[in-house]
Symmetry: D2
Subunit: 186 residues, 4 copies
C-alpha cells in the first residue's frame, strides 16, 4: 500500500458522544471529523450511530481513517463510514477500548455511556476536550475535574475548530512533557 | 451447609466508593455494611480497600455474606473481609460486574472509577442511593439524573440508616412493579 | 446468617462443560455436584444449561452453594439452581471469570467453549480434572498437558467419585506446597 | 491521506501463535506477513513478541497495515512493527478481540493462549488455517474440528505460501456463500 500509518498519521483521536443527536450537533460533529482528517489524525469511536457515525462521515469526506470499536461480534453492525471494525463484544466494557485507542479524547454531548467513557479517559490520562453548547455530558462536565488525580481539566470548547486545535495543542504538549505521571488505579 | 442463599438472603446490594477514605466515611460505611447484613442482604463490592473494605467489615460484624469482584487473577489481593472472591482481571471493566451483581447500588463518596460504576448502575436499571456529606461523586450526583432513560433519580440520603431503608424501599417497589422497562443501550 | 463462608466452605470448584448433554453425562454431573456439596465445596459455573445446570442441581440437593457467572446482564437467565448470579456480559470472556472463581476445575465433556475454559484454567494454574468416557473435550484432553508451563497434567478420572477425590487431593497438595509458581503470561 | 482502507485493503487476517518462537518458525511467520501484505490484507495480532512480532515485521516489509491488540493500557508495550495499537486491558479476554478483528485466522505453533484463540475463531465462525511442522497447537490441531457446530476443518497447511493462498480461498468462498450460519453460542 502507498500508505504508512506511522508516517502518514499523526495519531488517533477518540470521539465519544450520544448515539442519537440533533441536526446541530451532527453538523458540528461532522466538522470535527473533517478537521481531524485534514490535520492528519485518525478517529476512534464506538462504531455505531449518532456522534459515532457523524464523526466517521466527516473524517471520510476528507479521506481520513476511521476505527470503530463495536460491542458486537459481527462487523456488519458498524456504520458505513467505519474503515476498521474492531469487534469487542463486552457490552459497556468496550467503552474502555474506545477511549484507550485514542491518544486523546473529544466528547460531544452524551448520556451515561459517554460519561463512563469520560471517566475512563480521565483515569487513563488521556487529554480530554468537551464540546459545549450541545447539551449532554460534554456540556455539563466542561471545565471541571473528575477527581484530584490530574492537574488539568476537561477542557471546554465552543466550536469544532476550537475542539480540534485544543486537542492538538494538548497532545503536542503532553508528548513533550514528562510530568504526565500515568497512574492506573482501580 | 445449614444455609440456603435464596431462603436466607433477601438480595445483594452493591456498595461502591473510593479506595481511600477518611475516618468519618469509614465509620458510616461500616454502619451501612452492618445494617445490610442485619436486614438480610449480601454485599457486592470491588473487593479492595477503602469503602470496599469498610462495607465488608461491617457486614461480617453482623455475620453477613460478602462478595468481592477484584480486577486481578489472584484471590489473595482481596481484603480480608471478603467471603467470595470473584477474580475479574479486566481492569475497569470489572466495575460493570460489581454493579450488575447487586440488585441495587449504594454509592459512598468516590472518584472517577466510582462515577463509572454509577453510570453502569444507571444504564442497567439498578436503583441507586447516594450518601451525601462524605465528599466525592456520591455527594455531587445525589438527587440528579444521569440522562433521560429513567424516570427516577439517584436518591440522596443523609445517613447510613436512611441509605439502607431507602435501598430496601426501592428494591421492594421495583420488584412489585412492571414498569421498570429494562433497556440495554450502548 | 447462621453461615460463615470461610468457616463453612472449604473452597470453590469450577465445573465446566457442554450446555447440552446426554442422560448419562447429566447423571454423572449431578453426582459430582452432590459430592462437592457433601465435601464442603461451593460450585462455580457458567450458570446456564447442560453441565452447568446439572452440577448446580446436584449441589443444591445436598444443600451446597452455587455461583453462576452468566454472559448476560439479566440475572433471570441463570438456571434455577444457581444461588448467586454474577452477570458478566462479556460473551466468551466470562469463561475466564468462571475458571478463576474456582480454586480448581472439573471438566465434563464440552465443546470449543469448554476447551477455552480448560486453556484458562491451565494458564492461571488451577488444578484440573477431566472426566473421561463422556465424550467432548474432557475425554479428549484427559492426561495431557496443554504446554510446558506446568509440570502437572490435566488429570483424567473415570467416575464422579474419582473426580471429586482427585480434585480435593490436588487442592490440598497445592495449598501445602510453595512451588506452584504462578505465571500470568499472555 | 492517499489511502482508503475499504478500497485498498481486501480484508484483515488475524495471525495467532506463540510469544516465543524458534528461528525456523520466525522465518515462516515473516514470510506469511509479507505474503499477506503483498496480497492486500492487513494483519491483526496480539501486538507483542514471537509470532505477533514476526508477522508484523513481514507485513511492514511489504508496506502492509498492522493492528496490534494488546492486553495492556499503554501503547508503548506493542512491538515496533505495529501500526495501530488497540489497548484491550482485559488479560486473556483480549484474545477474543484479536480473533474477531480478523475476517479469517492463521495459527502458527502456539501454547494454551493460542489454543484459546483457535477456540474463539472456531466459535465465531472465522475460517482457520493452521501451519504444520512448527510444533505447538497449530501442528497438533491441524485438519481437526473442535466440535460439530461447523462443517469445515481447521485446515492444515505446510508452507507460508499455502497458508496465504488457502486463507484467501476460504475467505472468498465464505463471502460468496450464504450457508455459513453464524451461531453465537456460549
Amino acid at each position: 500500500m502507498n500508505f504508512d500509518f506511522k508516517r502518514d498519521c499523526r495519531g488517533i483521536i477518540s470521539v465519544i458522544g450520544a448515539s442519537d443527536i440533533d441536526n446541530n450537533t451532527e453538523k458540528k460533529t461532522i466538522e470535527i471529523g473533517r478537521l481531524l482528517a485534514k490535520n492528519g489524525y485518525a478517529v476512534s469511536c464506538g462504531g455505531l450511530s449518532g456522534v459515532m457515525e457523524a464523526v466517521c462521515k466527516g473524517d471520510k469526506e476528507e479521506n481520513g481513517l476511521t476505527i470503530g470499536i463495536i460491542p458486537h461480534t459481527e462487523k456488519t453492525i458498524a456504520n458505513k463510514y467505519v474503515d476498521i471494525v474492531i469487534p469487542c463484544p463486552f457490552s459497556q466494557a468496550r467503552n474502555i477500548v474506545v477511549v484507550l485507542t485514542g491518544d486523546a479524547c473529544i466528547a460531544i454531548s452524551g448520556k451515561a455511556g459517554t460519561l463512563s467513557e469520560i471517566c475512563f479517559a480521565w483515569i487513563y490520562q488521556r487529554p480530554i476536550v468537551a464540546l459545549m453548547g450541545v447539551g449532554g455530558w460534554s456540556s455539563e462536565i466542561a471545565n471541571h475535574k473528575l477527581d484530584n488525580r490530574r492537574n488539568d481539566l476537561i477542557f471546554g470548547v465552543e466550536s469544532p475548530q476550537e475542539a480540534v486545535s485544543k486537542i492538538i495543542e494538548l497532545l503536542e504538549s503532553s508528548s513533550n512533557s514528562k510530568d504526565l505521571s500515568f497512574t492506573n488505579k482501580f
